[in-house]
Symmetry: C2
Subunit: 347 residues, 2 copies
């Protein structure tokens, strides 16, 4: 190694090490790969070589090139990712639903009356058929009972404790293991190119925030989700926020552009989703005067994950599927475009 080459290498190493320390961390297992990849290797190693990988990299290279007509200033590099079905699995039912069920069971000792009271009885008896009969009203009752009535600190502790040990009933894995490795790489790749990455999910904001930093490298203030109202209580000098049984924002469908405007204040240029719930967010990005990228994750892999779209009750992908095709938005075909689905499949 020549002295000159050594110095250049040292400078680059310091450059990346320093900058990486200053920004909220990328997913640890991917950042090094991607950052090195920016110059020398593959930023999306779990993606098969093919059209979607090519257009993703082509887009990022184009909009970060100051010489390009489609150059996007750093402040406008806003990326929004749906969560359920886009960053982690959502079948056979949303993970937050398992959380709510487990909470009902954990709280049942203090509520002996639930043994004879719907919708709680159905949950305690694992009677999903009866639970579905309770309809939206019953589900809302379960959500509010398990998500409201405590302080924000208490709820965060409950979520953190649960997510650290609860397992997926089919995959027999801790839920946070069921994130998509190729999407972790995409998030890290966008961050390395100065995109500010947000989650915009129909799921509960306070259900996600306790673990998004460690799992996705996305800080709490870049997580947008459905929420309930809170109320400040001075509490004799130990101030708390109490979670009220009152909806604040339903961050789904028409609520996604509303949530994006509320929290971010500008239109995204990069959007990823997987269902009809993401259609309005896609249209919102599509109306950006800056060049935008609309990516749908299409669940096509019945072996490694699940295969579903138009007919599924969870993650229904029907109207948005037609519109995405008509408008030539982009698709990930999970079966054919991804080498692996989950991080634990590596090696």
């Amino acid at each position: 190694m020549t002295r000159g080459f050594f110095i250049v290498t040292l400078i680059w190493t310091l450059y990346f090490t320093a900058c990486n320390q200053n920004s909220p961390s990328s997913s640890p297992e991917n950042s090094a790969e991607v950052i090195a990849g920016k110059e020398t290797s593959d930023p999306l190693p779990s993606w098969n070589d093919g059209k979607i990988k090519q257009v993703l990299i082509g887009y990022v290279e184009e909009v970060t090139d100051t010489q390009s007509n489609n150059f996007i200033p750093v402040a406008d590099r806003i990326a929004t990712f749906d969560n359920d079905g886009t960053l982690w699995s959502e079948q056979p039912i949303y993970i937050q639903f398992y959380f709510a069920m487990d909470r009902v069971k954990a709280m049942a000792a203090d509520h002996p009356e639930w043994k004879n009271q719907q919708p709680f009885k159905a949950v305690l008896e694992n009677d999903m058929g009866e639970l579905m009969k309770q309809g939206e009203k019953g589900l809302l009752q379960i959500v509010m009972t398990t998500h409201a009535g405590m302080t924000t600190d208490e709820f965060e502790t409950v979520v953190s404790d649960w997510i650290s040990i609860a397992q997926h009933p089919v995959k027999k894995r801790v839920f946070t293991e069921l994130v998509y490795q190729p999407m972790l790489e995409l998030i890290a790749y966008l961050k390395a190119n100065d995109f500010k990455v947000f989650i915009v999910s129909g799921g509960g904001i306070e259900f996600m925030r306790p673990w998004t930093e460690s799992v996705y490298g996305i800080p709490k203030d870049q997580v947008i989700g459905s929420s309930i109202k809170t109320q400040y209580d001075f509490n004799n000098g130990n101030p708390v926020l109490r979670r009220l049984a009152e909806i604040d924002l339903i961050d789904d469908k028409e609520g996604k552009p509303v949530g994006i405007n509320r929290y971010i204040g500008r239109k995204p240029v990069f959007v990823a989703g997987n269902s009809d719930g993401d259609l309005q967010m896609m249209r919102w990005a599509d109306s950006n005067t800056l060049k935008s990228f609309k990516l749908f994750v299409h669940h096509t892999d019945s072996i490694r994950e699940w295969a579903y779209d138009r007919e599924s009750h969870v993650g229904t992908f029907n109207e948005a599927l037609d519109e995405a095709k008509a408008k030539s938005w982009m698709f990930v075909d999970m079966k054919n475009d991804w080498k692996i689905i989950y991080p634990f499949e590596k090696n």
Copy 2:
């Protein structure tokens, strides 16, 4: 200059240049000073040497020192700044109030009936006495008339156009010139030490976002304020968000911890404010288990700015003043602690 020293200098220059490009920019006029200052010079040049400057720097150095018992991890370095009276002047009345007045006058051509209809008549006749008689209901009517009923894009354009030319009636300066130079330096200093800096203001979120990036170096998604609801409209393929005449959040007093939780999801460690409207935010930070810093800007300079506290209708500083003293929170005495107030006083 030795070769070794040259290399070290080159590395440091690249380090800071590179990292600065990656993060949302600091206020241009301060960042270089502060970044150089981190190693060699004064990070707060417009602050007189004295106790408050010393404890500010002492706090930042302590909580960023990995060897300190009070070390704060980067993810927890959340700083929240009030805006009116903390980052820019708020006398004789909030700047957003001038905006609303000017909007009524600009819209009056389309509303001939306002000549005889309160509270608009009072505004058009510059009759502040009559306007005050209209009370809260009248003011709310003016706010909703001037802030709702258009799309978010339209409102942003209106604010941007107004803020670029409207002048303060007393200071005869464009309003964005009336920001406090020492606070710009403090924001840049905190950012250089990996604090994530947010505005948490009782003012309108969409009134601030169009200019906070260029004036404070604080991006739109790090601005929290009072808000009205919006509604998504597909609008025949040109989606818009319509601003509704309905309150979403009053981000003042008890609303500040609520807003902080909604947007940031964690308690701040550094808080700056100037009035009773900031008391709950101060208490919220004070309840952080991490070492926190509570800073009040005390308006004591009747010559260069304004002098007011307990008796003022704008920026009332009474209950919070007592509590801050009792709890040994920190004060800036504007008259004695700041060399200059506004950036235009430099040289």
